[in-house]
């Protein structure tokens, strides 16, 4: 055993730098994260990003390593973890939040982003925004969808029905790219599952037990609230917007989508960029996983059943084996 212990320790010591590399990245960005959300609303309130030479009053760039060169690793900063109503074994969606999130999607995001796997009838689902049937029909009818061909062989527009899927703002990917500086806005149906937070091996073990599955919404929230001026020494291409939370580069083709008061909520929720980001991130989690609430509910029942069953099987096994030496 001593031999094994020595070799194991040696191997672990070799592995430590690799593990530390993972641990260092979140640690370095942690102080920056705390400063950034406070700074972000100030930075993103401007409709047009200021020229790169202007300094903002945020502490964030100063707190992270002084960036005198273009960043090469992305995302530059890891997202902060948020509290979500749907997290954990008893998580569920907040119906009002999903309805607000849909409103944000419809009024802001749907101008560029399609959501092709969603149908209007889904908006009436339990465990989701749970709009009433007539509201669903009205929401569907408020958009035009393409149908056809008709008897003359032409495609035509008509008001939506609940069975229709959300129409796409562009006819195809090429049109979407052409209208957006060469980068087609991605479809948002499963975006909350298509993004995650890289947390390293040690956190991965913890996450198994804490059931952390909210990396997507955390990322989306950070991205939407993360637009800010680039730090001194970092330039971004013309027509793009600096965002340290973006997955693939230092800047996005998407302009900061929100400003305070942009969407008029009718239920009294705060009309701030952060709230819009939270609401739309929750909505996107629902569109990605519409059966989340049902899944967790059934999961609870199944695990209770299995624990009872395993317990019964344990005692049965003991009873069967009690007279047999083993």
């Amino acid at each position: 055993m001593k031999l094994a212990a020595t070799i194991f320790t040696a191997a672990a010591l070799c592995a430590l730098p690799a593990l530390a590399q993972d641990a260092a990245a979140p640690a370095a960005s942690a102080p920056a994260d705390q400063a950034a959300p406070a700074a972000a609303p100030a930075a993103t309130q401007q409709a047009v990003p200021p020229p790169a030479t202007e300094q903002t009053t945020t502490a964030a760039p100063a707190a992270s390593a002084p960036q005198v060169s273009q960043p090469t690793e992305f995302p530059i900063k890891k997202p902060g973890l948020q509290k979500w109503s749907f997290a954990g074994p008893f998580g569920r969606f907040d119906t009002a939040q999903l309805q607000r999130g849909y409103q944000v999607y419809k009024e802001v995001c749907s101008n560029c982003h399609s959501m092709k796997y969603m149908a209007f009838r889904n908006l009436g689902q339990e465990g989701g925004p749970h709009f009433a049937a007539d509201e669903v029909a009205a929401l569907a009818a408020s958009v035009q969808v393409t149908d056809g061909p008709n008897d003359a062989g032409d495609m035509f527009q008509r008001p939506g029905k609940p069975s229709d899927h959300f129409p796409s703002p562009f006819a195809d990917t090429q049109a979407a790219a052409a209208a957006n500086g060469g980068a087609p806005p991605p479809d948002l149906s499963v975006m909350a599952k298509a993004r995650g937070v890289e947390r390293g091996v040690l956190w991965a073990v913890v996450d198994f037990f804490t059931q952390y599955q909210e990396g997507g919404p955390d990322y989306i929230h950070a991205l939407l609230t993360g637009f800010q001026d680039p730090p001194a020494g970092v330039t971004v291409p013309e027509g793009t917007y600096y965002n340290p939370y973006f997955l693939n580069a230092a800047s996005t083709h998407m302009p900061p989508p929100f400003k305070d008061g942009l969407v008029a909520y009718t239920d009294g929720a705060p009309q701030t960029i952060d709230q819009y980001a939270r609401d739309v991130s929750s909505f996107l989690m629902w569109t990605a996983e519409p059966h989340l609430v049902e899944r967790k509910r059934i999961g609870f029942e199944v695990i209770i059943f299995l624990v009872v069953f395993a317990g019964l099987m344990y005692f049965t096994k003991k009873r069967v084996w009690e007279k047999v030496a083993h």
């Binding site: 009838r121 029905k161 069975s163 059943f305 069953f309 019964l312 099987m313 009873r319 069967v320 007279k323």
Partner: protein, 189 residues
């Protein structure tokens, strides 16, 4: 090759509470697992969403028919002529092989009078699933000895209210759930 020797290995066959409880839990568990495996073959949410179809009938003049696809089946929407209506009303129930209205909008016991086969208050308007009740072919309209439908597959003949009069089909063609949502629109399903 050794077979079990009861002196060395006492068989635990006592039926006591533990075994019964465990067995019961196994049976319940099996049933709970089986249900999703079976239910997944039922029509999914997308199929159920297409269960209703809205039809614009403003172009259908008397004597004309429109055929719509509903749940994969042809549904005929016809504005019958006065002659067709009179012929349908003149038929005695006792002449009919199938005296049941076969109308999803009415109770199961309703009889196959013309009033029970056509639209209340709009007796010219006739909506019916145009599938022969013999073996499922689509009969041809305004043909046959009864001015109704004639099925070329095996010769069934229906009258102007879609009721079986002659041939091997056992039942009147079915009337689906429908209603006029406006003067020119019918919602089927």
């Amino acid at each position: 090759m050794a077979s079990s020797d009861t002196a060395d290995h006492p068989e635990p066959t006592r039926r006591d509470f533990l075994y019964i409880a465990t067995g019961g839990v196994v049976v319940v568990g099996a049933a709970l697992i089986a249900w999703p495996l079976i239910d997944q073959m039922n029509p999914d949410a997308a199929a159920l969403a297409l269960a209703q179809v809205d039809v614009d009938v403003s172009s259908v003049k008397p004597g004309e028919s429109l055929i719509v696809k509903w749940r994969g089946k042809p549904v005929v929407v016809r504005q019958r002529t006065d002659k067709e209506i009179t012929e349908a009303k003149a038929v005695n129930l006792s002449e009919l092989r199938d005296q049941n209205a076969r109308n999803a909008n009415l109770p199961d016991s309703a009889t196959a009078t013309d009033a029970n086969r056509s639209t209340p208050g709009k007796e010219a308007w006739f909506v019916m699933i145009q599938i022969c009740t013999h073996l499922g072919c689509v009969p041809l309209g305004q043909q046959g000895n009864y001015d109704g439908w004639f099925c070329p597959c095996h010769g069934s003949q229906y009258d102007t209210a879609g009721r079986i009069r002659q041939g091997p089909a056992p039942q009147n063609m079915a009337i689906p759930l429908y209603k006029f949502t406006s003067d020119t629109t019918i919602r089927i399903g």
